[in-house]
């Protein structure tokens, strides 16, 4: 069991220049309190890994606005004109990764796999610099695992052992990222006593979580 820490304490654990996975899809299921704390501490040079950069002023978009990000490894930036502007100005480097490939590369990173073979991206610009491997007459791209220094998760409930549940479409990348970082920090909406979450309802086993953010007051 871990003592819950504040979002500011969590942000202080994450050094400038770190690689950080963020759960969330267009800001839904994002660890918003840790994001606010990273902005407040003036984090710099982060490599962020996640589905998208949401919208200006929303979710991970706040980190873009505040100049915390050096590199974004995401599937989509179309909803955030600030990311596009900073990319064109050379302030942020953007690595666009097909969404399903991103999910599988993170899964590979967290599951001890050497990569995955996917048909997605074959014959497109995504193929550039990658090995094409033929299996049973069909071409696949070898996509390498992605891991990070930190994974910041948004959960619905956590018990005192950090067993996590998620809600609806706020689930998205969170359970995959829980496996794929050196340090995993979970930000739940609720913290409940051990036993409240039935074992079958646990989506992320608490053993994967290093730090828990205290319940919002």
């Amino acid at each position: 069991m871990h003592r819950a820490i504040s979002a500011a304490d969590a942000a202080a654990l994450i050094p400038d220049g770190a690689s950080v996975m963020f759960g969330g899809f267009m800001g839904v299921g994002s660890p918003n309190r840790i994001i606010d704390a990273l902005v407040a501490r003036g984090a710099r040079g982060l490599t962020i890994i996640g589905n998208d950069t949401a919208f200006p002023g929303v979710g991970v978009g706040k980190l873009i606005d505040a100049g915390c990000v050096a590199e974004a490894r995401v599937s989509h930036i179309g909803t955030n004109p600030v990311t596009q502007k900073k990319m064109i100005a050379g302030e942020i480097s953007v690595d666009l990764i097909p969404q399903g490939t991103l999910a599988e590369r993170i899964r590979a990173g967290g599951n001890g796999l050497g990569g995955i073979l996917t048909p997605t991206g074959v014959g497109t610009v995504v193929e550039k610099g990658k090995r094409v491997i033929e299996v049973d007459g069909r071409d696949f791209l070898l996509e390498l695992p992605i891991r990070a220094d930190f994974a910041l998760l948004r959960a619905h409930e956590s018990d005192y052992n950090c067993n996590l549940t998620y809600r609806l479409t706020a689930t998205n990348f969170n359970p995959l990222m829980a496996f794929a970082a050196v340090c995993v920090i979970a930000e739940p909406d609720e913290i409940v006593p051990v036993g409240v979450i039935p074992p079958d309802a646990v989506r992320t086993p608490g053993i994967l979580v290093h730090h828990l953010i205290e319940r919002p007051l």
Binding site: F25, V28, A54, G100, E104, T120, L168, F173
Partner: protein
């Protein structure tokens, strides 16, 4: 009826009973409004849900329940939610019957470009590359012409979304089926001539016999 509604109503006739369908952001989303009577379709949103419905009344939205464009939705009885890995396992694994996507260009071999315009617009591919590679049927729903330029071209000037030949292209002027022989003109929009379609298309079209006018779906609530 405006161009987008016409396209959505025609695409809706491609829906089949008891299938899983993914609609892209924008124009394709409109297709859900015109599901023909007697057809039951499960819609997937790639951010992690099968079985979503119309937005809830104002003030009743759930911040944890949105579509892939970030808009609020509802979950229908029997809905299922899941993580992004599972969502793309459905898409890439051959479990998705049909996807409807917007398009920037389709070329003479039926390849789609819909994710970037170099130097101008770089939104990213999101789930589009996985959808085109993985869905059993890929339907492109788009305007025939943009800014006076045909969107159906001999060869793509924009980066391809995949090398796969899409199943069907539905525009405000025509329904076109890419085949191994080329682009087959299947239907004309109401009141549109074959000559008009040819004049607004940048690739060669196969025209066999009379080209019929396209039927369009009448939604259940209007059918009575």
């Amino acid at each position: 009826m405006d161009a987008k509604e016409l396209i959505a109503r025609r695409v809706a006739l491609e829906l089949r009973d008891r299938t899983l369908v993914n609609l892209g952001i924008g124009l394709p989303t409109l297709v859900a409004r015109y599901v023909p009577p007697g057809i039951s379709v499960a819609f997937q949103s790639e951010n992690g849900i099968i079985g979503f419905g119309a937005p809830p009344p104002e003030g009743m939205e759930d911040p944890n329940l949105t579509d892939a464009g970030g808009g609020f939705i509802s979950a229908l009885p029997g809905a299922a939610s899941f993580d992004s890995g599972t969502s793309f396992a459905l898409i890439r694994g051959g479990h998705l019957d049909m996807t409807v996507l917007g398009g920037l260009q389709v070329d003479g071999s039926g390849r789609l470009a819909n994710w970037m315009v170099p130097g101008k617009l770089v939104p990213g591919m999101g789930g589009a590359m996985d959808l085109v590679v993985g869905a059993k049927r890929v339907i492109v729903a788009m305007q025939h012409v943009a800014k006076g330029q045909p969107k159906i071209v001999a060869s793509l000037a924009l980066p391809a979304t995949a090398t796969r030949r899409v199943s069907l292209v539905v525009t405000d002027l025509a329904v076109i089926e890419p085949t191994s022989e080329g682009l087959l003109l299947r239907e004309r929009a109401p009141g549109v001539s074959v000559d008009e379609i040819v004049a607004n298309t940048g690739a060669a079209l196969l025209i066999i016999g009379d080209v019929p006018e396209m039927p369009i779906a009448i939604p259940e609530r209007d059918a009575a």
